[in-house]
């Protein structure tokens, strides 16, 4: 076999593997899931005057984070249909009237062995929500939830970039991302800081 042919075979093999690893692998690894409802952050902020994230994603009196608001919060305004959209009908008929919680797929959900305090990060460190959650709260679309078939967690945890190189500050919520941010702020915490 000539050298040229050897290079060709090697290059072809390399190219196919790279293509499989960078293009096909993410498509196979992540399953695309739709949220149960179409929700518009921007519309709520602009038309309903709910401009602050904390108006729905509140901290409780004891400092714990309430996360995605419970159905009773939504029912405060949507006890009856407020429009003719399909999402509005699903919200009221499927969830609010029967008293069912909406099974939102949480992009930032962490494993159960992680303890994270929103209160410390928001109140003491004055971090803006967007520093970890990006500007999702300003958009008017519901992102597709990409779920890792093996770990079961959202793609937001690893970050959109498969290489995790040159990613934006808000991208990724892995332990190393927490550590990097803490290091940048000269705040080293031990294992028990998060794994209590």
């Amino acid at each position: 076999m000539s050298t040229k042919r050897n290079i060709l075979v090697f290059g072809l093999g390399l190219g196919l593997t790279l293509l499989a690893g960078w293009v096909a692998f993410p498509r196979v690894l992540y399953v695309q899931k739709q949220q149960p409802l179409e929700f518009r952050h921007k519309t709520h902020a602009e038309k309903s005057g709910m401009a602050e994230c904390s108006q729905c994603h509140a901290l409780r009196d004891d400092g714990t984070f309430a996360g995605i608001p419970a159905m009773e919060t939504c029912a405060g305004c949507h006890s009856e249909k407020m429009g003719t959209s399909k999402a509005e009908a699903i919200l009221v008929d499927t969830y609010i009237k029967p008293g069912q919680e909406t099974p939102w797929l949480v992009y930032a959900r962490q494993p159960a062995n992680v303890w994270f305090s929103h209160a410390i990060h928001v109140k003491r460190a004055n971090l803006a929500c967007a520093e970890c959650h990006s500007t999702y709260g300003e958009t008017d679309e519901v992102r597709v939830y990409a779920q890792d078939r093996i770990s079961g967690y959202s793609r937001d945890i690893w970050g959109h970039s498969m290489s995790r190189l040159r990613r934006a500050p808000h991208e990724g919520m892995k332990m190393s991302d927490c550590e990097d941010c803490h290091r940048r702020h000269n705040l080293e915490v031990g294992c028990l800081g998060c794994h209590k």
């Binding site: 076999m1 050897n6 075979v9 090697f10 290059g11 072809l12 093999g13 390399l14 190219g15 196919l16 593997t17 790279l18 499989a20 690893g21 960078w22 692998f25 993410p26 690894l29 409780r60 004891d62 400092g63 714990t64 984070f65 494993p111 159960a112 062995n113 303890w115 890792d148 093996i150 770990s151 079961g152 967690y153 690893w158 498969m162 290489s163 995790r164 028990l192 209590k196």
Partner: protein, 559 residues
């Protein structure tokens, strides 16, 4: 199959290509996370997360705890910084306590001589024993509402109530015989001491309420060459406390009594203290020979001890010579020494005394697993976890961590009286019972733990003394009703008594206490490790022990 050059090139190219794709690294990461989420690994239910205040009930110190609950299940534990005694600290066992209820050695069935049995059979057997002869009940944490149930039960049957005192209470026992004040009513006024001489007591390794001394030491001594609080550690090995103390006095194992006598002799002969006797029988030379120190070192130690007053010596167990040294130093009944915290404390008989004549002995789950009563009677032992080899006739499953309502009386060695209520945050499994519930099944006329706690709250309200320390500090005199007081206590507040008008007590030492036997077989620090050992450990506690060397077993120490 023949391997061709082309195959080889494909393989090399594929491997090289694979290594510069995210495939291996992402798969490695995913598989590690996947392995953490296998279906047989307990996971807290997803649901609202709340934090509840409670108290650790794994030992009598009752440290304040914030319990993080997810969907009603405890998933994490942290200290309460506002707790007046524990001050935010917990020991490794406390930090992992929420895992204990899932421990594989959790007891869930009644056992009779290694065979499976039933609660009914145990009740019948105990009732029969009660009718046939005297019974004894052994309690690990006296002073609780459950302790009152035990005392009432044995009083009605002419039985005996016995306790297994911890090392801190044992160390205070000699003063009881010299002053008449019950050891349970005495405590160490560490907050006002300037010099503390510890004879093997692991003050920085979880002695008494772990946070009390460690916080004090951090505030007044840590990192200073001339600290406000001088800690002198007398110990054979370089323990964690010895390594961090202001001064470590290495002595031969078991020679603490000799050193106490040698120091007392110097104090009296050189008139370094106002006391004039009694003189210990041991000469300075004999003390030096036994301890391995020079006579000069003992003289220097005595002078250092009184250089900054008040000074108090802390023994690791029932050691009359070290108690006598405190009397010579003037620390017994004085500010910064050993003080009387309450006038209402009771005196308890130790479980070592006269249980051998009992027909049956009931051991509460608060008694350390290693304790074996000196008796041939039928033994009914309550325990939440099986600690391994045991000699009990009956093994009765008790409620686990946070599964039983209990109150938390004053911690041993505390200088102030406190009271708290640890509600049951978890529903106990139907197959477990506390000893108080078991006795209630035999004698329905017994008052329940809940009613006794209610009565105690009413007594506190009527007393109008002290403060309630919760999220806010409120004087009991300003609490509107007993219901309000009880409500606050159930939510995690601690009642703190007012400091006694006079913490002094008179301690008469007519002659120097005789040394019992020769040098002890085990060093005092070894005794401590043995007395403290938990029957089982949750994984988090095991990790903390391993990584922090806290309460390391004696065989791992460098002597």
């Amino acid at each position: 199959m023949k391997l061709t050059r082309r195959d080889l090139l494909w393989g090399v190219a594929g491997t090289a290509g694979l290594l510069v794709t995210p495939v291996p690294w992402k798969l490695l990461d995913d598989v590690s996370i996947w392995s953490q989420n296998w279906p047989w690994i307990p996971q807290p239910a997803r649901g609202p997360v709340e934090v509840k205040q409670s108290f650790c009930t794994l030992c009598p110190n009752g440290c304040g705890m914030r319990v993080r609950m997810a969907s009603g299940w405890p998933v994490g534990v942290a200290g309460v910084a506002s707790h007046p005694v524990s001050r935010g600290a917990l020991c490794p066992l406390g930090f992992g306590a929420h895992q204990l209820n899932w421990h594989p050695r959790r007891l869930r069935t009644v056992r009779h001589r290694a065979s499976s049995s039933s609660w009914e059979a145990a009740r019948v057997a105990f009732a029969k024993a009660c009718s046939e002869g005297p019974i004894a009940i052994i309690d690990g944490y006296p002073g609780r509402a459950a302790s009152s149930v035990f005392e009432t039960f044995v009083q009605k049957r002419n039985g005996s109530y016995r306790t297994v005192p911890g090392p801190e209470t044992l160390a205070l026992a000699p003063y009881e015989s010299w002053s008449g004040v019950p050891a349970a009513g005495l405590g160490y006024d560490l907050e006002n001491a300037q010099t503390i001489v510890s004879f093997g007591a692991p003050l920085l390794d979880g002695w008494a309420t772990p946070g009390r001394f460690t916080r004090l030491w951090a505030e007044r001594a840590a990192g200073s060459t001339d600290p406000q609080l001088r800690l002198i550690q007398v110990e054979a090995s370089l323990s964690r406390t010895a390594a961090r103390a202001w001064q470590w006095v290495p002595v031969h194992a078991g020679s603490e009594v000799a050193l106490a006598e040698g120091v007392a002799r110097v104090l009296l002969e050189e008139r370094l203290v106002p006391a004039r006797g009694p003189m210990p029988p041991m000469t300075l030379a004999e003390a030096a020979e036994q301890t391995g120190l020079s006579t000069g070192a003992i003289v220097d130690l005595a002078r250092t001890m009184v250089a900054r007053l008040p000074v108090v010596a802390i023994a690791n167990d029932d050691n009359p010579a070290i108690a006598a040294l405190n009397v010579v130093l003037g620390a017994a009944g004085a500010r910064g020494g050993i003080v009387r915290r309450s006038k209402h404390a009771e005196s308890y008989a130790s479980a070592e005394a006269d249980v051998e004549s009992a027909r049956a002995v009931l051991i509460d789950s608060t008694v350390p697993w290693d304790f074996a009563p000196p008796t041939n009677a039928e033994v009914f032992r309550f325990a939440a976890w099986d600690g391994g080899t045991g000699t009990s006739d009956w093994l009765l499953p008790a409620p686990g961590f946070l599964e039983d309502l209990t109150d938390v009386p004053t911690a041993p060695a505390s200088a102030i009286a406190t009271y708290a209520v640890a509600p049951s945050l978890l529903k106990a499994p139907p197959e477990v019972q506390s000893a108080a519930q078991f006795l209630g099944g035999i004698d329905p006329a017994l008052i329940t733990v809940e009613k006794i706690i209610h009565t105690r709250c009413a007594d506190l309200f009527r007393g109008r003394a002290g403060t309630l320390q919760g999220q806010e500090t409120t004087s009991v005199a300003k609490v509107a009703s007993v219901q309000k007081l009880e409500e606050q206590l159930w939510k995690g507040a601690v009642w703190i008594d007012e400091p006694p008008r006079s913490a002094a007590f008179r301690c008469e030492l007519k002659e120097w206490p005789a040394t019992v036997g020769s040098a002890p077989a085990m060093s005092s620090s070894e005794n401590w490790s043995k007395a403290w050992r938990a029957p089982v450990l949750p994984p988090l506690a095991s990790k903390l022990y391993l990584e922090s060397s806290l309460r390391e077993p004696p065989d791992r120490r460098n002597v």
